[in-house]
């Protein structure tokens, strides 16, 4: 079982429906979420409370989200910042990351992708170094991109590791093959080809896990995709 570390997450997003969906998904992962719908309430919240991760939309009704990032940096914020924006202009991305954001997600995004990014950020920013994920007999060390089963190194390709890691980060969640394909191959995968492709990779991954005597955690959800479970 992955180490569940409940985090305090602030979501700054003016679109109610979207911020609630995000909160709902992240809460189901055991995190505590608060939502601010504009710049001013967000600035009030960060002044009053401590957060581990702040998710910021750039286009807010009363200003630019960049303002919040600058404020966080000024107060030596120790947590992680992820920009969520509809703008995928390269310029914005670089500007955002220069200002001190740790990651950039372009709308629309998969909630599973958001969750994986939050987790990876948490590892990178909050627990530098010692951050192995334990799932029963499996030990995943993300920094080294290695998986050990009963202390034996599992021989995985880069993409197989990415896939396993992504599924482990979204444990008990139904992940469609498109989400998996997009996470692992990004722009390189063509949606029309993703089905057979993801299937082939999952098959290989399963075979390798089986050979090492790992339990059947990788479940197929018929017609949709896959799910990583405890049993």
């Amino acid at each position: 079982m992955c180490k569940v570390v409940p985090m305090k997450i602030l979501i700054v997003e003016d679109e109610t429906e979207l911020s609630e969906s995000m909160a709902s998904y992240l809460k189901s992962e055991g995190h505590v979420c608060e939502i601010a719908y504009a710049c001013v309430p967000a600035l009030e919240k960060i002044a009053l409370y401590e957060y581990d991760v702040v998710l910021v939309d750039l286009n807010l009704p009363d200003g630019n989200g960049m303002q919040i990032i600058r404020e966080l940096k000024d107060m030596k914020f120790a947590g992680g910042i992820i920009i969520i924006s509809a703008r995928d202009a390269l310029d914005d991305r670089i500007k955002g990351l220069d200002t001190g954001a740790d990651d950039y997600l372009v709308k629309p995004f998969h909630l599973a992708e958001l969750n994986a990014r939050v987790k990876s950020l948490m590892r990178r920013v909050l627990y530098k170094g010692d951050n192995q994920m334990v799932h029963h007999e499996m030990v995943i060390i993300p920094d080294e991109r290695k998986v050990y089963v009963h202390e034996v190194l599992l021989d995985l390709t880069r993409k197989e590791f990415d896939m396993l890691m992504f599924m482990a980060a979204n444990k008990d969640k139904v992940l469609s093959k498109e989400v998996l394909a997009e996470h692992v191959w990004g722009d390189y995968i063509d949606s029309a080809d993703s089905f057979g492709f993801v299937y082939a990779h999952i098959k290989n991954l399963r075979r390798k896990l089986d050979q090492m005597g790992v339990g059947k955690y990788l479940k197929t959800v018929y017609g949709v995709g896959y799910k990583f479970t405890d049993a």
Partner: protein, 421 residues
């Protein structure tokens, strides 16, 4: 054609035309006046001759040269038929100079001492001809001098008067809509040019305003469309986790999710095309084409292996271009994606770079459309109806933006797209 060349040519044409016409008129009138003068002198000489015929003159068939510049000739004739002055031009042999010279001759048939004779007096035209030639020569020298002055004057005039115009022109030439600087046109005391500058400045600020609002509009549209798409996609993500849903329900949600993704990609691609149209990619950096191709091919590795395609790369030299790295990245990604996904199982993929040309050759279904058709928006093959049909349109747009020559051909069962950088 440059203003200087144009005006100089114009002036020269007018000057040559005027000088030519003027020269002809001048020559004709000068010639006419000299002729009249010679005629008058000849008539005068004839009268003098008739009043005081020179003494010791031998009359007969012999021709006697009396004096230079006039020659006198008296020839007996059977009868006086035409008692009028007759003028003619003749060539006579000059014994001193040993060549023929042109003479003007006056003839009169009259009775001299009761005998009918024809008296001819010839006068050399040498001096008058020389005079005409001399005057023509002076005129020519003057014309050349005038032309040289005209060109010089035009040069000075243009730099003096049109100087401020050229200054404004160079400012406008450097103007780029994408850099947010205001333009400063130099002051001028010429009313028309200062008016022109005012109009230009006004136009510039209007273009800038329109451009900014267009840019803002595009950003806003993108934002406005992406946001509801993000809401739909997040809701479907949550619905997928609903354990009460059966397989059929999950499939429906899956289909919604995929179409949202398609819509979002479409939106993003159209915004990219619009942004290129609006020149919103001013960045110019050294981008190495072969480097990016290698990077992309590495990322395609598993997909290539799954399709049993072994890419053959042949880079004889690296190509470095000055461009926006993001755009070049997208262009090469789309080209390779096209060559890989439209390929057949265990097909061929050749990527060659030589000199300034990139060739991407791949096997695939026989072409369903002509070369140019391929680069149009929303053109897709029947087999892959779910693709957006924008990938190659974006490639074309980017190569047009940087003025790369792109072409498509189908030879030896290989589709080939080549770009000359």
């Amino acid at each position: 054609m440059k203003l200087l060349t144009k005006t100089t040519l114009f002036f020269i044409t007018i000057a040559l035309f005027t000088l030519f016409l003027g020269g002809i008129v001048f020559y004709m009138s000068f010639r006419y006046m000299i002729n009249r003068e010679v005629k008058r002198e000849l008539i005068n000489d004839m009268h003098q001759f008739l009043i005081h015929p020179p003494a010791g003159q031998v009359f007969g068939n012999d021709t006697v040269s009396v004096s230079f510049p006039a020659r006198y000739e008296v020839i007996p004739v059977p009868g006086v038929q035409n008692p009028h002055f007759v003028f003619s031009d003749t060539l006579l042999y000059d014994e001193i100079m040993h060549h023929y010279q042109s003479y003007r001759t006056i003839q009169l048939e009259t009775r001299l001492n009761g005998n009918p004779v024809r008296i001819s007096i010839s006068k050399s035209m040498l001096i008058s001809n020389e005079l005409v030639a001399y005057v023509a020569f002076i005129t020519l020298i003057l014309s050349v001098f005038l032309l040289v002055c005209l060109v010089l004057f035009n040069n000075i005039f243009l730099t003096r008067i049109w100087g401020s115009f050229f200054n404004s022109l160079s400012v406008i030439k450097d103007f780029s809509i994408t850099d947010k600087k205001d333009i400063h046109l130099p002051e001028t005391e010429i009313a028309e040019f200062s008016q022109l500058n005012q109009v230009l400045e006004k136009m510039h600020s209007r273009i800038r305003k329109d451009y900014d609002s267009l840019e803002e509009f595009i950003e806003n549209v993108s934002h406005e469309i992406q946001t509801p798409l993000a809401v739909i996609s997040s809701k479907t993500d949550l619905l997928l986790q609903d354990e009460k849903l059966d397989t059929a329900g999950l499939r429906q949600i899956q289909s919604i999710r995929n179409n949202v993704a398609r819509l979002s990609n479409l939106n993003r691609s159209l915004i990219l095309l619009a942004k290129i149209d609006n020149h919103q990619f001013p960045a110019r950096e050294n981008v190495e084409i072969t480097h990016i191709i290698n990077f992309h091919l590495e990322n395609f590795d598993e997909i290539l292996k799954a399709k049993k395609i072994v890419p053959q790369c042949n880079f004889s030299n690296p190509i470095t271009v000055m461009a926006d790295p993001g755009l070049i990245n997208i262009m090469l990604l789309n080209l390779l994606k096209n060559a890989i996904y439209h390929n057949i199982h265990a097909g061929k993929l050749d990527v060659t770079v030589s000199d300034n040309v990139l060739n991407i050759r791949n096997t695939g279904k026989n072409p369903e459309m002509d070369g140019e058709e391929l680069f149009k928006r929303f053109v897709k093959t029947s087999e892959r109806a779910d693709s957006l049909g924008l990938g190659l349109a974006i490639v074309k747009k980017i190569s047009d933006y940087y003025q790369y020559a792109i072409s498509y051909s189908f030879t030896d069962d290989l589709h080939c797209i080549s770009i000359r950088f």
